[in-house]
Every structure is written in structure tokens, then in C-alpha cells.
Symmetry: C2
Subunit: 455 residues, 2 copies
Amino acid sequence: MKEHSSEYLDSLKAIIERHDEEEARKAIADLHPADIAELYQDLDLEEAEFLYRLLDDETAADVLMELDEDDRHKLLSAMSTEDIARQVVHLDTDDAVDIIQELDEEDRDEILAHIDDVEQAGDIIDLLKYDEDTAGGLMGTEMIVVNENWSMPQCIQEMRRQAENLDDIYYVYVVDNDYRLLGVLPLKKMLTHPSVSKIKHVMETDPVAVKTDTPIDDLTLDFEKYDLVAMPVVDSIGRLVGQITVDDVMDEAREQSERDYQLASGLSGDVESDDTLFTQTKARLPWLLIGILGGIGNSLILGNFEGAFAVNPAMALFIPLIGGTGGNVGIQSSAIIVQGLANGSLDVKSSAKQIFKELGVGLLNASIISLLVFVYNVFALGPTQVTTIAVSLSLFAVVVFASVFGTFVPLTLEKFKIDPALATGPFISITNDIIGMVIYMLISSSLLAAFGTVA
Amino acid sequence: MKEHSSEYLDSLKAIIERHDEEEARKAIADLHPADIAELYQDLDLEEAEFLYRLLDDETAADVLMELDEDDRHKLLSAMSTEDIARQVVHLDTDDAVDIIQELDEEDRDEILAHIDDVEQAGDIIDLLKYDEDTAGGLMGTEMIVVNENWSMPQCIQEMRRQAENLDDIYYVYVVDNDYRLLGVLPLKKMLTHPSVSKIKHVMETDPVAVKTDTPIDDLTLDFEKYDLVAMPVVDSIGRLVGQITVDDVMDEAREQSERDYQLASGLSGDVESDDTLFTQTKARLPWLLIGILGGIGNSLILGNFEGAFAVNPAMALFIPLIGGTGGNVGIQSSAIIVQGLANGSLDVKSSAKQIFKELGVGLLNASIISLLVFVYNVFALGPTQVTTIAVSLSLFAVVVFASVFGTFVPLTLEKFKIDPALATGPFISITNDIIGMVIYMLISSSLLAAFGTVA
């Protein structure tokens, strides 16, 4: 990974300060657009805008794509729709759509009106109609398409013509006269069968393809499973309408796993370490407040047993142990389910089997844990103390409950098409904390009522 | 994503049961190796072995690669080293190395001895030397390499020869006479410059390349940043030694994010929803036991203040609130750091800045939270109650501490090259729970000692 040295940054900032356009151009001439985009993290907005104005339209467009959303938004709001249009025409349609989608309705229409190439503008308008979370929302229309009846030389000639508009060639798609996808032509076939009379004789039939409405999560798993670098997208009657490339899929996979991770950590909304103090607080406060509500709920539950604490203050000492263990167990169970659903190894159809198995794991863990704590408390408190017995009984019940609950909730959410990752982290730990306290208090006070404080 | 229907599975199982080899072959003839591998999840070992024996060596090798590690291990232990060797020769060297690496030393040597192609065996032996977590451990040696001084026709002829051994062509690498990497030839240049006299005139110079000892996490970020489908690997003096492809990188990225997620959820070791009850318990019990130790530690700390609970039982009611909030805040802070380090947006060099900023976020959250709880307690308990004041003061201190601590620990681990994800989940929540209790008890008992239980 390339990192900009602080010497380089200092000299660049000095060049920008004295508005030396020529030197600035030289300083960034050899940089990849992704590296130029990275510079923006270390420059203030004015410096960044100065650099950005020096770029040719094509590089500027690439840099725009590589910026993170906040920085891009700042740059775009300072630009005229005409300038934006002049740059996005250099992007692949899927990238152009990503940028145009971030703008408001009015700006969108103006930009589209400024695009001279009607075919390109039309493609962008078509792509804007698809749901962002589906194959249609991720695909681009740039790809090489040949007819099944062409010969290899014809095919290569056509590829040469089409290649002008492409950054990279992944696969060549073969269609029939109605543009229905029939097969894929791996590039090595061009080399190994240079003079075949009809492409259909050497193409690979039955290619892995997705429909425009396939959810992105599913096609990500397909890319991983079949080791693809690109995948064709077809409409409901099998006509080729676009292509999804692996770089977009990798970005999506990263975002998906970051989203799951953030939900599991009690962060709402996409938050980064370099976000402002207020963005961070906004993303963090909601779950903290829900936790506070849970904690206050807990205090109300415990309040009903305040008399018991006065009689037997040792009860209070084990509140963190029981609440914490319930939370930990629940988080483990839900994480296994969320991960299994995300990587495709678990199917919601096998819910019953999974819950039953989790019951086994829960019983095993519960037995070990409550026995160990019992042995400790026999020495720490004494074997006939109500607390000794209440703590181990409660731990047993809490661990079994939290295991099953942590499995049941995400599976149920998935069944109702709600993101199962919502059921991880704070939600599970707060719920289990409260239920743990209820169980502990009920067991303790029943035992106290039955036996009193036996010394 | 293709899923095997239960009708298909039932009929396949029936075919296997009557040992009808011909029908079984037909039933799986059209399946992709990845789909055959997926069948194994629904078959018992004996059924799977029956199917596996019907496959030709090349398909069998591909299926082997697609199986998950446990299933592969079972199949491999039932095979002779000669059979294994006959299959792995059909794999790319990087995949062959992955499989051979899973076997014990003795089997490895036998397999290598059974590989007839000395060059291939030599490549595998070379690759086995690299650390698994580096570029060297991930790369394969299959790639197309041309000399800078060749013409395009010469180059295409060479590609035709080399293509026989390749599944896919990603890039063509250009080297000098000493095999030092000079550039990359995008495939579209073959189309757009069919008759160039020397490749070096059309190649792209200064390609993104990594050294053999580059950590995998770094190169994953490079693939994402530069939108690559493959990347050349060079030795310390710049000679081309291998290629890493995007499918392997995607698998690594998935594993990395699953590892982080598991650590954050208190799972040690790689655990899947379909693992056995004992594997699951083994992965889950360690953190639960550490949690239990933490809980017992907490009970000892609270035990020192047992007298205070007897005098003022209301104190006990807020134990879950304070412990839980500390845990939640700490998990959020550490998750932001771990994620920032994983996606490259955060650099350990800016630690001081990050901790300072986190102090700001912590102070803001702490003010809001302690004020809200104070208002609640004024109504619930009364404004002059010691508990009302102690709870809000403690919450303030705990939130600020947990924010800074949750930022500091993963940054410090990263500095010492220890996986920062270790500092998430249970570790952070248990530590903050304990420290929360200490703070709460110290503040409460000081206030009690100073003012007594004011009604």
C-alpha cells in the first residue's frame, strides 16, 4: 500500500500555497487516481479544490469515484452540473450512476441533459431505475458482446471496435439474434481457437448469470463460490442487459461485513474513525440510550426485590456475573447465526435443527459454568447459603435461555426479511441482561422465602 | 445462488444407495465443481466418497478445493498419497500448496515424490516455503510472461503456448532479460495494437506489485483501492515470481472480516453454524470462562462494600446500568478503531489525535447520558439522594474512561503488531464492567461517608 510521506505532503502544500499550477501538476502526474483521492484526507477543502481543478476530465472523474462519500459530496456541491456532466461521461455507466444517484432530482436531470452521447445518457437513465441493492443497481452496460454465428476473426474485429470504450476486458459474452445470453467466451479461447468458424462451437454454455432483481448479497456469494471476475446480468426473458465486475462486488462485500460488524458493536449508521465528533456521537448515542433504558428497566425490576437485598446483601454481588454471562452467551449465539446467513453456510429452512443443536450447546456450557461457580461459592460463601444455590441455578437457566434466544431471534428476523444483524450486539446483551436479572431475582427470592438466610 | 432441491437430493441418494454408477455420473454431470462440493453438506461420508470416486481427476481436484476444511480433511485421510498427487497436479500451484499444506510432513513428501512434472513439483516446493499470511503464501506461479523486446505477434504466439496451462488470463506481465518485472500489458492492447514491434512501447509501466513478504491484509486493501483482478509478486530484487488473483483475495478478505467479527463476539477459533456441538463449545467456553472470572472479580470488589448495600440497598439497583453502559461504550470505541485499521482509513501514527478526539466524543456522550439519568433519578429517587448523585457521577466517569480505554487498547496492540481485534467484544466489556464497578463503589461510598443516607 502506497502512503504519502509527510515530506511529500509538506512540499505539495507549499506548492499549492503559492498557487504554482505547473509544479502542482508535476507533483501529482505519476499518481494513480486512487492515490490522488487519498491526498484529500490530508488537505483542507481549498487545497483539494485547487488540485482538483488541475486534473483533466477523465482523471478528475476517476478521482471523484475514489473519494469517500463525504468528500465527494463537498466537491460536487462546489461544481456546476455542466462540469459534473463533462466528467461523468468518462466513467463506466455503473460508476456514473453511483455519482448521479447521490445528487438531488433537479441536478440529476440537468446533468443528464448535458450529456451529448444520447446512448450513454439513455443507459444511465435505464440504470437509475433499478433498486440499489440488486444486480441491476450494480451493473454497468460496458461489455463486449458477440453473436453466436460470428467467426473468431469477425469476433476479434468487433472486440477491437468495442474495446475502445472499455477499461478492461473480462469475458466476451455470446448472444443470439434476440440478444439472449447463450454463453461466455473465455479469452484463452481466442488464442487457442483463432480460426473457428462459429463462436457457438467454442463458447462455454450455461454461464453463471443473474437476473436484474437478484439481491446483491446473493450475487456476492456467487462470485466467491464460482471464483468469477465478472458476471452477466439478464432480464426476465434472458436478454443480456449488463455486467457486474468483481471490484464492485468486493466493495459491496466490504460494506456488508462492516455493516454487520457495526451493528454487532452498537453503532447505528456508517461511522468511520475520521468522522467528526458530532457524526460519531449521532451514530453511537442511540444504542447507548437504549442501553440506559435497559439499565433503568433493570433497576425497576431489582427495585421490587429491594427488601431481599437488605436481608441478604450478598445477592447484589453477583448481579454483574449473571447479567454479563447472559449477554456474552447471547452475543456468541447470534453471531454464529448472522455469520452463517451472511456467508451462505446456513439456511433459514434448517432453523428448527439449529435451535435444537443450540439447546445442546447451551446445556453443555450451562452445566460447566454453573458447576464451576458452585464450587467457587461453596468455598467463598458456604455450601448451604441461599446465594450459592441461587447463583448457580440462575446461571444455568440464563445460559440455556440466552443460547436459544440468541439463535431464535436472528433466524426469525431473516425469515421476515429483516436484517438479522440487528439482533446482535447491544440488543441481545441488553435483553439477556434484563431477562437474567428477572430469572436471578425470582430464583433468589423463592429460595429466600422457602429457606430464609441459612448460615 | 443455486441450491439443490430436496427432490434432487432424494433421487441422488437413492441412486447412490443402489450403487448405480452410470446414473450417478449423469446426475452430477452438469454441475459446477463448487456445486458438487456443496452436495457434500447433505450427504453422509460414505455417500460422498462414492460420488467422489466417480469424478475424473481434474473435477475431483476442483471439488477438493471447494470443500470446507473439515470435509476435505475427511476425504484426504481416506485417499492414498498417489491418488492425491494425481489430482493436485491439475490444480494451480497456489491451490495445490493450500491442500498439501494441510497434510502432515510425511504425506507431503510422498505426494511431491509422486508428481512427475519436476518443474511443477519444484514450484510447489518453492511456494511451501513462504509464510501463509504473506503474498508469497497466496501466489501461484501460473501466469503469462513476455519479454519487453518481443513484438505483438511473438507475444501472442507465446501466450497461445502458455495459455494451455491456464484457466483464465488476467494480465500479461512484461519482464526484462533478467526476469525483472517492467510492466503489464492489458489485454485490450492486444486488440488495439496488433502489430506493435516491441511490447515495451505499449505496456503500462510502473505496475502495482507486491513483494513476497507483503502481509495479506495490505495487499487486500491494494486490490480494493486499485480495482485489480490480479497482482504480480516480485522478489527483493524485483524479479517476477508469481501472481495473486482476486478470487483468493476475496476469500482472504471474507476470512479476515469473519475473524474480526468472531473476536468481537467472543468466539475463539473459526466456528461455523454447522460445526459439531463440541467444536462449538470449545470455541465458546474460553471467553465465557473469562467472563465468569470477571464476574467473580466483580463480586469480590462489590463484597468490600457489602456494608454499604445493607445501609443503602438502592445502590444495588444501578449495578447493571453502570456496568452495561461501560461495556457498550467500550465496544463502540474499539470497533471503530479495529474497523478503521482493517480498511486502511486509520493509521496507528495518528493515535494521539484519535485518542484526543475520542475524549471529546466521550465527554459529549457522558454529559448527555449522566444528565438524562440524573433527571430520571430526581423523580424516581429524589434529588438529594446519595444514589441519585453517585449514579450520574459514576456514569460520567465510566463513559469517559471506557471511550478512551476502548480507543487506546486496540491502537496499542496494533503498535506492537498484535491483532487489535483481540481488544474488542468480551475483553473490553468485561474490563469496563469491572472498572465501572470500582468507580461506582468508590464514588458511592465516599458520598455515603460524607453525607450519609440523606432522605
